[in-house]
Point group: C2
């Protein structure tokens, strides 16, 4: 996957995905630009990749319908993209996924099955689900079409903010990171790309030089529940990611509160984590023109009040 | 005041005020456009009018400094505008104003005095404060420069959304309404303009044909605590406003929850009230291209959690 693939995805998404706003905050610094994918359709960047993936399917694949496994945002993205393209969708979701996310997927007309995410690795559960359903499986991250779609967020950010020296990206499976890193390293080769995560699985994998496996993590960033980085995305990240930093639950909550009060932004925990890295001082831009990906806002009012109360 | 005054204000504000995003929601309807002044500097539309007013002052007026009385958003707007223009500011605020608003005004470097808003009409308290301080008084709404600044929000909305048949505007003192109604009636004379309020003082005044006075209302829309419409704004509203509808606290809270969950927007009660009028069915667009002003987002996390919990 290269910059041309991302540009092709941008053409597929033109007029379908929202061009989300870029916000600034003097408190964060004069050269800090927040790309607000919380305002993306489906409430997160995931729509970009899912729609790009589904658009690439041939007639036979579309006719079989699509299925996916996801803790929430990818589920919504696949359900919404499938509805837009007139494709049948079935989604396997963890039974403890936030109710707001379950309700949204249902609202987009997809069929839902639930499973216990603490009893079976996601990859295995997804594979079994796809075999049983005989539908086209839509990976949440480990595919160049998904990453190219996600990378269009970085393309727009650079168009709106101008040249950047530093880009902070929430990292789970690595689809958003693979797409965004590909874009910025192609356009501004000197820029640093830093991933931000809650569990440390990506950081430790990069340090080890191979994908490590961890137990299902228990932190508040439900968008980053992976036990292992993606296979293909890991190779991209090894090549393009300069560093990965970790944020604690308290740091994430502080960032969500800051974004609510000061920027009037609704974020979910994984959506606020790159901002948390700045606020907590894990990354110090020191004058660098800095892009920050706010990856999603699907926290749900009830959970937000619970987290903040 | 006419469209040219609003266009002149737009030139004054160019590069100083944010051009706030316009959002859409399929749930609200295909032709509904939300102008999100919650993302304006200072967290509300008020910055537009205050900055335009302060920019019009002569050297002597600037040297004396400026003062204002406000429950919050106008206070922040005057404090922020004064800081930008290098003018000294003192603000009289109700002692029960939301803590987030008091803190923000303090943060902008203005001096704060507090008073009991249930013991003295705001107009009287403001007059006494201005006399005592011998500073230039900045009215929150009852001045063409304030209204012309506020009207730039409607100008931008029409540029981004195209022609509108209907415009819903939160109405308190009437500055935002006077500015926005002037713009849309000049550009699209057939469009209907509807005010939305919590207390009914504007509706009853328009029905009576004169400004009535009510006791300080006790509802959650702290941005609409006025006991009487403005003198000048009332004359503008008599001429240009087609109707005024009321929303209850519960309807406002439902709109705040909807905007949080579905549009990822942080709104304060008076900021959500025009959306509440749509959701509660007090206004039925029935296919009309509809603009909705979201006037502000300064609710503060703690108060939001309290209201929603």
């Amino acid at each position: 996957m290269n910059l041309d693939d991302v540009r092709a995805a941008a053409r597929v998404l033109d007029g379908v995905a929202h061009r989300t706003p870029v916000m600034t905050s003097r408190t964060l610094g004069d050269g800090v630009f927040l790309k607000c994918e919380s305002f993306q359709r489906g409430g997160a960047f995931k729509f970009r990749g899912a729609y790009n993936f589904l658009s690439s399917l041939d007639e036979e694949e579309r006719a079989r319908g699509v299925c996916a496994i996801s803790s929430g945002n990818h589920a919504q993205a696949v359900a919404l993209s499938a509805r837009e393209l007139g494709i049948r969708a079935a989604i396997l979701m963890p039974e403890d996924a936030p109710p707001a996310k379950l309700a949204a997927v249902d609202g987009y007309g997809a069929e839902i099955e639930t499973y216990d995410r603490y009893s079976m690795p996601q990859v295995q559960a997804g594979r079994e689900f796809a075999e049983r359903r005989q539908m086209t499986f839509v990976t949440a991250y480990d595919d160049p079409r998904i990453a190219a779609g996600a990378g269009t967020a970085a393309l727009e950010l650079l168009e709106d903010a101008g040249e950047l020296d530093l880009l902070l990206v929430p990292v789970g499976g690595g689809g958003l990171m693979a797409g965004c890193a590909t874009v910025i390293k192609a356009l501004h080769p000197g820029a640093r790309v830093i991933g931000v995560e809650a569990s440390g699985v990506v950081k430790r994998s990069l340090e080890a030089g191979e994908r490590i496996q961890i137990p299902v993590p228990r932190h508040i960033a439900d968008g980053q529940m992976l036990t292992q980085p993606g296979e293909w995305t890991f190779e991209v990240m090894r090549e393009l990611v300069d560093d990965v930093v970790l944020c604690s639950d308290d740091e994430i909550l502080a960032a969500m509160a800051f974004l609510f009060d000061r920027l009037k932004l609704v974020t979910e925990p994984s959506g606020a984590i790159a901002t948390a890295a700045l606020l907590a001082g894990h990354v110090r831009p020191e004058g660098a023109r800095t892009g920050v990906l706010i990856s999603g806002g699907n926290v749900g009012l009830e959970r937000f009040v619970g987290l903040m109360g």
